[in-house]
């Protein structure tokens, strides 16, 4: 059977593979090569070794966007996950209207980043107007604006995953603990949290990688204003390519570094989930 199926390679695999090579494989390796080249237009690429990488590390915008992204990710991940977990606990108490609440909390997740950014941009600017300022005036506003926006978008998403995890906690375990005299807090810490650990790992990494790769919301909420202070990594890379007149090689080198960073996060996730699977 394997042999007959094997002959059907051109029908089963080739269409996907051609598209995959055009969209991903060729651009990926070409991109790695170009990160070692100096070029403004692609026809005049000149090999320069690690110069682009050195330039990227010396670039203030890049270093700032790196710092901004890391701090943003830490704060956002904590806020989002604590809120999502709390909501999930509240929604598994069998109160009336649970389904409707779940639907409402999840909804913002479906709205695209660009539209989301402009919705919040108009709200923040309407509030800040009474203090005669705008969100583009101070990096502090942009930072907390992005936190609020991302919380609004991701809390529902993470909540859904936590609910799925919480529903898998066997009720007899909790009842046994209750009979043994465990307080609510003890039950949460000693039973619920260890049992939903897989969901926690998934949510942590999903929110980390979502925050690190953020682009659309960043572009539409602040666009990096004031003075690129609120530009995150993805936006800074975009601006290096298409914004100013520097060598695009630096942009590509930044992109490779960005890829390595995101890759390390993903590998750590794999490591943690694998280890959890062994334990169970």
């Amino acid at each position: 059977m394997q042999k007959t199926t094997k002959k059907y390679f051109p029908i089963f695999v080739l269409p996907t593979l051609i598209a995959f090579f055009i969209a991903f494989v060729i651009p990926f390796f070409w991109g790695v090569y170009l990160s070692f080249c100096k070029f403004k237009t692609i026809k005049k690429a000149e090999f320069v070794g690690f110069d682009n990488y050195i330039a990227a590390f010396k670039n203030d915008n890049f270093v700032n966007s790196f710092k901004f992204t890391v701090i943003f990710a830490i704060v956002a991940v904590i806020v989002i996950n604590v809120a999502a977990f709390t909501l999930a606990v509240l929604l598994t108490q069998k109160v009336k209207g649970t389904n409707l609440f779940r639907t409402v909390f999840f909804m913002p997740n479906l709205i695209g980043g660009i539209v989301l950014g402009y919705i919040w941009n108009s709200i923040f600017n309407s509030i800040l107007k009474s203090y005669s300022t705008t969100i583009a005036n101070d990096a502090k506003y942009g930072f907390w604006g992005l936190i609020i926006l991302m919380s609004w978008q991701l809390i529902g998403y993470m909540m859904i995953i936590y609910i799925a995890g919480l529903q898998n906690v066997p009720t007899d375990l909790k009842e046994a603990a209750q009979i043994d005299g465990a307080s609510r807090w003890q039950q949460l810490r000693k039973i619920t949290i260890p049992m939903v650990m897989p969901s926690i790992t998934i949510c942590l990494f999903l929110s980390v990688s979502n925050c690190f790769k953020l682009f659309d919301q960043n572009l539409s909420l602040t666009g990096g204003a004031p003075q690129r202070k609120t530009a995150m990594l993805a936006l800074d890379i975009f601006d290096t390519f298409y914004g100013n007149n520097t060598s695009k090689g630096i942009g590509q080198a930044k992109a490779v570094l960005f890829f390595l960073l995101v890759g390390i996060i993903a590998l750590t996730q794999l490591f943690f989930t694998r280890r959890k699977e062994v334990e169970q």
């Binding site: 059977m1 394997q2 007959t4 199926t5 094997k6 059907y8 089963f12 695999v13 269409p15 996907t16 598209a19 995959f20 090579f21 055009i22 969209a23 991903f24 651009p27 990926f28 070409w30 991109g31 170009l34 909501l87 108490q93 109160v95 009336k96 209207g97 609440f101 779940r102 639907t103 409402v104 999840f106 997740n109 479906l110 709205i111 695209g112 980043g113 660009i114 539209v115 402009y118 919705i119 108009s122 709200i123 309407s126 107007k129 609004w152 859904i160 995953i161 799925a164 999903l206 790769k213 659309d216 666009g223 993805a234 390519f241 992109a255 960005f258 890829f259 995101v262 890759g263 993903a266």
Partner: protein, 279 residues
Amino acid sequence: MSTKKKIKNIIVFILLLFLAIAFLYPIFFVVINSFKGKLFISDAPFALPTSETFVKFNNYVMGIEKTGFFNAMKWSLIITVCSVLLIIIFTSMTAYWITRVKGKFSNILYYLFVFSMIVPFQMVMYTMTQLADRMHIRNPAGMILLYLGFGAGLSVFMFCGFVKSVPIEIEEAAMIDGCNPLQTFFKVVFPILKPTAITVAILNAMWIWNDYLLPYLIIGFSDYQTIPVRVQYLVGSYGNFDMGIMMAVLVLSILPIIIFYTFCQKFIIEGVVAGAVKG
């Protein structure tokens, strides 16, 4: 139920109700302002429209005209629907072949697809645009091809996980009965894959419908602009864009998603959970 528990439930309910109102407020804000004249939006943004500030559907009419909204919606729909269909058909076939034909080549392909999932778009964005330019595929058909390529990673990965659980005996029986592999796949295997296909379709549809950067780079300066590209183009590039019209356009862009969500919310929520757990 004890009285204590009843009181607790009421408190939780009220708390959730307040949170739900807070969650819905941003959408409510945009909707009420989409019915006001632009001067009144900056004067009293949080007030409901009054007889003085109410402008009926003027903002919507102007917004649809100025943005060519229906044209953008048409291209968004065409690109999303075609891409999702192609992704479902081709990646499920690829996943089937990779899982059933064992060997080094299949393994390499599998890991290449998985690898592509962790690479951020910025890594390939410039070279991919250059390649698309040289191949003259900066049009909707090219977009669909590129979405098949970008969507392949996650979709192949998810289908592979499921194909493994399909009992091979059924396929062997079909083959003995004279089906060729293509018939076996579509008549026997694909129907079993349906739940995964729905999940994959929903995840890809949500991504493609809302995607901004890829369509911006490939067809951003043509007549084929999708909704997110159009919104960014109009609202982002002119700082003094009429606020009332902007609000109307924002409402119009989230309306199709909300309608879709009300009808398929069960599938969407289940699909997202399945996707998150596997991805």
